[in-house]
């Protein structure tokens, strides 16, 4: 789940247009044959014959002959640039600066969840230039030829990005995407209400299972993958994409214990609940807690908030920006991507957003000195080493999804 995803409208069905269905179901036979032969075995197969990326099975997304990148050296179009993004996910001030500098207008349309976004993009009625996507749907978008490969000659600022993300495992050579933000999942707690924070435990995740005295004030993310993964990590199973029903089943039983012990709540409102004090211990995304200062009630200092996440084997999420295949302003779109990757504008964006762009220039200690992040929340800053030694939640096959959903529905049944 993306931190900006809203729960109320998740009931999308993907109405793929005829061509897309053919592309995804028939697939590129040549590609599949190549995958079968080319030693990518072990990686589960995704739609359209593109293997599902894993950290140890990096995927070079194919470039189809009928979907090639634009030519280099063209001048930007007049606009307006149509951007398709999550709600509240880019600093309006940065967008305005872009508009002034390039003398164009930028229209932002928002979506609340990926399936809604994909449904709109495949309906054939929408015409956007730029789309903010996630790893989960990247391979589908490529297989369905929804997005076009990017032309790096327009993206000189890509070298500002962490080296390990310039050619990420899910999109080797950054053929289709540039990274936008990085976040991790950790534990937020109220230092003034909770005696022992996660660092005081031998296994920090144990704080949830030993918080009986805080019953009713404990929350985990209302996300199937994130919540069960935390239980897996507590048991030192460092594979958030496991489809072993025993492991996932055990994770579910552990979470069920939480239901009995502490009446655990499931929500994604940690970013307001923890500052407000209605939740004292919560699983939380890093960017949510970075934004805590704006949610603190009057009279409560932000220093009461603590945030912990592991140095290695933390769940690291990332999202990216892509250019849509039918973009009317592809060159302008590239320039927008390049603009956001610029060091100054990237930091500007982060100061408003709370979620960190993976720019090498960003120095965690400098961020504190510059007042972007309160001193007690430096752990919300994600470093390149976190990404290198982190874990990613990635798409599963249908059988895999079933295993996880069954576990989740059992947990949600409260039994």
């Amino acid at each position: 789940m993306h931190p900006r995803e809203r729960r109320s409208t998740r009931r999308q069905f993907l109405y793929a247009s005829g061509g897309t269905v053919a592309a995804l179901s028939g697939g590129d036979a040549l590609l599949r044959a190549a995958a079968a032969l080319g030693g990518i075995e072990g990686a589960p197969m995704g739609p359209g014959g593109i293997p599902l990326a894993r950290r140890n099975f990096p995927v070079t997304l194919p470039i189809y002959s009928d979907n090639e990148p634009i030519a280099s050296g063209k001048s930007p179009e007049k606009g307006p640039l149509n951007v398709f993004n999550w709600a509240d996910y880019v600093n309006p001030a940065v967008v305005k600066k872009f508009e002034k500098e390039f003398k164009v207008q930028v229209n932002i349309t928002t979506f609340e969840n990926e399936e809604e976004a994909l449904a709109k993009l495949t309906s054939g009625k929408a015409s956007f230039d730029v789309w903010f996507a996630t790893v989960e749907y990247l391979s589908r978008a490529v297989a369905g030829k929804l997005i076009q490969p990017v032309n790096h000659s327009y993206l000189p600022h890509l070298k500002n990005v962490w080296p390990s993300l310039q050619s990420p495992f899910y999109d080797v050579h950054s053929r289709y995407s540039v990274p936008y933000t990085i976040y991790t999942t950790g534990i937020a707690w109220r230092k003034d209400k909770v005696k022992k924070g996660p660092p005081a435990f031998a296994n920090p995740y144990d704080i949830f299972w030993q918080s009986k005295q805080y019953s009713g004030k404990v929350a985990i993310l209302d996300d199937e993958r994130e919540a069960l993964t935390m239980a897996l990590l507590r048991r030192h199973i460092y594979d958030p994409n496991t489809t072993d029903s025993k492991q996932v089943g055990q994770a579910e039983k552990d979470l069920a214990q939480l239901t009995k012990l502490v009446h655990v709540k499931t929500n994604t409102t940690d970013y307001t609940d923890v500052p407000a004090g209605s939740t004292w211990i919560s699983q939380a995304w890093s960017g949510d807690m970075a934004g805590a200062p704006s949610y603190m009630p009057k009279g409560t200092p932000v220093s009461v908030i603590g945030y912990w996440r592991p140095q290695t084997n933390a769940v690291v999420g990332s999202d990216m920006i892509t250019i849509l295949r039918g973009a009317k302003n592809p060159v302008l779109g590239h320039m927008f991507l390049n603009y956001l990757l610029d060091n100054k504008h990237g930091v500007d964006n982060f100061s408003w957003l709370g979620y960190i762009p993976p720019l090498a220039v960003i120095n965690p200690s400098k961020l504190v000195a510059q007042g972007y992040i309160p001193k007690n929340l430096t752990s919300t800053i994600v470093r390149e080493s976190d990404f290198k030694h982190g874990l990613s939640i990635l798409p599963l096959t249908t059988q895999g999804q079933t295993v996880w959903q069954d576990a989740w529905s059992t947990f949600k049944a409260g039994g």
């Binding site: 998740r10 009713g216 709540k265 096959t397 999804q401 959903q405 529905s409 049944a413």
Partner: protein, 297 residues
């Protein structure tokens, strides 16, 4: 003869609508529950021909319905919540309906208006109101702390089954009182006076005359709120954030929010409907009987 088709023809558009948008969709639930799933988009693939229905999903669901398993636990919890809430609604609603029907004379119009108002206030608005009071710094906690009953704010909204049941009662009792009042109102006073004339005390009249006569009304009104309550999921979602209080509606909702198992969701809907079919048939029987006779004597 044009006459024979005159009146039915007025009913045709409405009936056709209900067939296309109520009856056929019901069949679609069966077709999906006994169908398959397209693996790429996780869309359900319905099987319209009953001869090709696949029962593996339903078998799995029924398997999990056995005592001790997942769906059993949720169904039992739902039954318990509905049962307690219904009892609470009747305990509160019957005296009010009775008073309105039999006693309030001068204030009757005013009381009826006050009764009707919450009936037309959106259910979620009433939950919003209730939640506003139950917040950690809300009026309920403030009052209880001022009075000294509580020393620190209580987490009413932190996964408490009592909060969910109270919310269900608060939410559904208006839907019970009005039909109950309507049916109590219809009991002719002459019958009750006859009972009194024959020497029965007020309590006795109530127990042996009024109560039995209002039996149909009670049962019909109970069924009328129990049915939607069984499918309720939003009350639990807004009052309690915890899986501890989830009802069968929450499970159904879960499978329709994404993932490859909408067939399971459809199967659960079928199981729920079958369980409610008994209640539904009873209600229909009572309604049809009642509509044939204007008053209950």
């Amino acid at each position: 003869m044009t006459r024979r088709w005159f009146w039915p023809s007025f009913a045709l558009p409405g009936a056709a609508w209900l067939v296309l948008l109520f009856l056929v969709p019901t069949y679609a639930v069966l077709a999906v529950a006994f169908g398959t799933v397209d693996p790429i988009f996780n869309n359900p693939v319905p099987v319209w021909d009953p001869l090709h229905w696949q029962f593996s999903t339903m078998r799995g669901v029924l398997d999990d319905l056995r005592p001790g398993h997942v769906f059993w636990i949720v169904f039992v919890r739902t039954f318990v919540y509905v049962g307690i809430s219904l009892a609470g609604c009747l305990a509160i609603g019957y005296p009010v309906a009775y008073y309105l029907a039999r006693h309030a004379r001068r204030t009757k119009a005013l009381l009826l208006i006050l009764l009707i108002i919450p009936f037309w206030v959106s259910y979620l608005m009433r939950m919003l109101a209730w939640i506003g009071l139950l917040l950690p710094d809300g009026l309920v906690n403030k009052t209880l702390m001022d009075v000294g009953v509580l020393s620190h704010p209580y987490g009413w909204l932190d996964g408490q089954s009592s909060s969910v049941i109270l919310a269900l009662i608060y939410g559904y009792v208006p839907y019970l009182i009005l039909p109950l009042y309507a049916s109590l109102d219809r009991i002719a006073s002459q019958v009750l006076e006859a009972g009194r004339d024959l020497g029965a005390s007020p309590i006795s009249t109530f127990l042996h005359v009024t109560l039995p006569l209002s039996r149909h009304g009670i049962l019909a009104a109970s069924v009328l709120i129990a049915l939607p309550m069984f499918g309720d999921y939003y009350t639990n979602d807004v009052i309690s954030g915890s899986p501890r209080t989830s009802m069968i509606g929450n499970q159904i909702n879960l499978f329709f929010q994404g993932g490859p198992q909408r067939t399971v969701g459809a199967s659960l809907v079928i199981v729920l409907s079958v369980m409610l079919a008994v209640l539904m048939s009873y209600y229909l029987w009572v309604t049809v009987r009642a509509s044939r006779s204007e008053t209950i004597l």
